[in-house]
Subunit: 110 residues, 2 copies
DNA sequence: TCGTTTCCTATTGACATTCTATAGGTATCC
DNA sequence: GGATACCTATAGAATGTCAATAGGAAACGA
């Protein structure tokens, strides 16, 4: 994942993937596009970041996959959120809340 | 760095260290305590995270160090922000703004 | 003054995650 | 049939953080 030229935060990718899949099942590139869309173009996830993350998350049981055909008639692997995945999304959302609150506190400090 | 039991974001540590040093020169453990303080106890930076970061940042020229005596009469290495360090703090603060904005967007998306 | 605790810096080795770069297959379009 | 767009995938490297550990020196208590 990168934002402009810079490298980005560990753990955030999972959150964005999970959140993307909340909108419905999607294949890899679709997820990538959706992340770019919902973050206003800030985050661009490249294949080398996306697929390892997807595989890892499937291993964890947060998402499940099946082969299907894409809108453009290509074979594509679709991913969908599992029940534990929804739970994880909740957990990570809360985690993000704590983190961003804490950093905001820090930046306001004199 | 960790928050409760969990592991945390890459790059954020630098921001917190730079911000801490804005309050004045400080030794390693002092920085660690200050981070814990200004983040409301959310982030606890352990030596194994702190010192590598400090050394790296000194290498980058963002901070400089000198030996002195601590409040408790122990030898302590003090760190202070350099001019490039202030610039870097500004850069990273903006970066954080972009990031948190983008994630907030993503989490609001339906 | 001896032993213990507290303060402080520091390193090592493991681990997780992400990045860049690269690869290859298959439909579509001209 | 050649280029292009779509789609998944991996290898290798770099980065950053963690847990665990070490050790010295001042303070403190008995």
């Amino acid at each position: 994942m990168n934002s402009e030229p810079t490298t980005l935060l560990q753990g955030t990718l999972d959150l964005l993937i999970l959140k993307s899949l909340l909108a419905g099942e999607m294949h890899g590139l679709g997820i990538s596009r959706r992340i770019q869309q919902i973050t206003g173009g800030t985050f661009v996830v490249k294949p080398g970041s996306l697929f390892p993350a997807l595989h890892r998350m499937e291993e964890e049981g947060w998402i499940s996959s099946f082969w299907g055909d894409s809108e453009n008639n290509r074979r594509a692997k679709y991913y969908r959120l599992t029940k534990p995945g929804r739970k994880q999304l909740e957990t990570e959302t809360k985690r993000w809340g704590r983190i961003s609150w804490a950093i905001a506190q820090a930046l306001e400090a004199s």
